[in-house]
């Protein structure tokens, strides 16, 4: 099949809102958005706590979390696979090869990014705000809401970075999702499969959507940091 024909068929898939095509895009977005949401719910408070707490071994924890930001997706997938596989500790939940398993794997991938960026952002703000907040009678964890709100633009950028990483990865979702048609097939796993099978239009169409998504994320991140700069003076 020649490339031009593949392109025009890919565009037809996108513009024609092909049901199978939309299902794949929809599942990918649902999985990744859920993972980012979960990572935010866990990572924002945890990162903020790490920023303002002092305990022995704190430096070690920070280095560890920073290191996890570079965790290869296949390794994250492998770990979650081992946890969820029939013989694994969570095997009885029966989650392997379900969308939920993919959400868990992507949460594991995004969480270190959220924790590390939150820790950095909040620690810097805390240094600056500490005495002012203490003067208002706000100490320790009670300062967290103020700090999170004032770091909102940097934190939004961090969440978008996490979203970008999760939506682009293929290794983790492939291992724990199994790439089952109409069930756990995401944009990236479909591209990997269809390209090797020779269904170029579907792969190309999904590739275009993925690229557009990446551009959108970067535009949003750019916008957030611009507005943030305005408030940071």
């Amino acid at each position: 099949m020649d490339i031009t024909a593949a392109f025009s068929e890919a565009l037809q898939l996108i513009l024609g809102a092909d049901a199978k095509f939309l299902q794949i895009v929809g599942l990918s977005l649902r999985v990744t958005l859920t993972a980012v949401l979960l990572a935010a719910l866990i990572g924002l408070p945890l990162g903020a706590w790490l920023a303002i707490s002092r305990f022995s071994g704190r430096a070690l924890v920070i280095v560890f979390v920073n290191g996890l930001m570079g965790l290869p997706p296949v390794v994250a997938g492998l770990v979650v696979f081992l946890l969820l596989s029939r013989a694994g500790p969570l095997g009885s939940w029966g989650l392997l090869f379900t969308p939920t398993a993919m959400v868990i794997a992507q949460t594991v991938l995004v969480l270190p990014i959220v924790i590390a960026l939150t820790r950095g952002t909040i620690e810097e703000l805390w240094r600056e705000y500490r005495e002012h907040l203490a003067s208002l009678g706000v100490n320790g964890w009670r300062a967290v809401p103020t700090l999170l709100w004032d770091g909102r633009f940097a934190l939004a950028t961090g969440l978008l970075a996490g979203f970008g990483r999760a939506s682009a990865e293929v290794g983790a979702v492939l291992i724990v999702g199994g790439n089952i048609a109409n069930y756990t097939r995401t944009m990236t796993t479909t591209i990997a499969l269809e390209t090797s099978k020779g269904d170029l239009p579907l792969a190309l169409g999904l590739g275009i959507v993925l690229m557009a998504l990446t551009l959108l994320i970067n535009a949003l991140a750019f916008g957030a940091s611009r507005i943030g700069q305005r408030f940071a003076g």
């Binding site: 005495e131 002012h132 907040l133 009678g137 706000v138 103020t146 408030f231 003076g233």
Partner: protein, 237 residues
């Protein structure tokens, strides 16, 4: 006659601070009764900011104490003490939101709209606080402290970066607060300002309280050699 609900007088007894084994302040003793403006003056690095932060409870003394008349003395809140810093911290929000934040976390006293009006901040209310000029930020910081309805207000160089007009504006505000019964303890580098505002002067030099005197007496005839040199502009640090 002592006001039973008052946190004053503040009793500072042998208050000392050190960092990394180096004595930076004290021991210092004085009493701050209710009312009036007291100016802490002295060269750079004398320990003026440290003394204010110790009194406000932001840092812990190495020895000695600063004791309020009522149990512990309240931080912020009604019948409490508030502070305006040498470099006021502006939250990454609008001017109005900076005021609202103080009210919501300290749970205190006055209305934001009233503060905006009294301190001439209405036209600036929606602007990001960090983009305001130095003078505007100083006014916002004062408004923010005033919102808490403090009985005592600590001010660290409230007009150090301001032009003469803005300085006069701040001084008028401070005199207004004092006339309403707020007790002010402020540091200043501006001896003219100390003369214009203060009833009493605490002169600090190298961490020691060298003179504690009525302002007019201090400026007419300082008792110590260091104070004489300082007022004459000959004492550097």
């Amino acid at each position: 006659m002592r006001d039973l609900a008052s946190i004053l007088p503040l009793r500072v007894e042998n208050l000392a601070f050190e960092a990394e084994g180096k004595a930076l302040l004290g021991p210092v003793s004085f009493k701050l009764p209710k009312g009036g403006i007291t100016a802490i003056i002295g060269p750079n690095g004398a320990g003026k900011s440290l003394l204010l932060r110790l009194c406000h409870g932001l840092i812990a003394p190495a020895s000695g104490r600063a004791e309020w008349a009522t149990e512990g003395g309240l931080l912020a809140g009604r019948k409490g003490h508030a502070m305006v810093f040498q470099r006021p911290v502006m939250l990454r929000r609008s001017a109005r939101a900076n005021l609202q934040h103080a009210v919501s976390v300290a749970g205190a006293g006055r209305r934001v709209a009233e503060a905006l009006q009294r301190f001439g901040l209405e036209p600036l209310a929606e602007r990001p606080a960090r983009l305001l000029s130095g003078g505007e930020q100083q006014r916002l910081a004062l408004a923010r402290a005033w919102l808490l309805a403090p009985e005592v207000l600590f001010l660290d160089e409230p007009s150090s970066q301001l032009d003469p007009g803005a300085t006069r504006q701040i001084e008028a505000i401070l005199l207004g607060l004092a006339s309403e019964g707020v007790t002010l303890l402020m540091t200043t580098h501006d001896l003219g300002q100390a003369r214009r505002l203060a009833r009493r002067v605490l002169f600090l030099h190298r961490g020691q309280l060298v003179e504690d005197a009525e302002a007019h007496a201090f400026f007419a005839a300082p008792r110590t050699e260091e104070a004489r040199a300082f007022v004459a502009g000959d004492l550097l640090w």
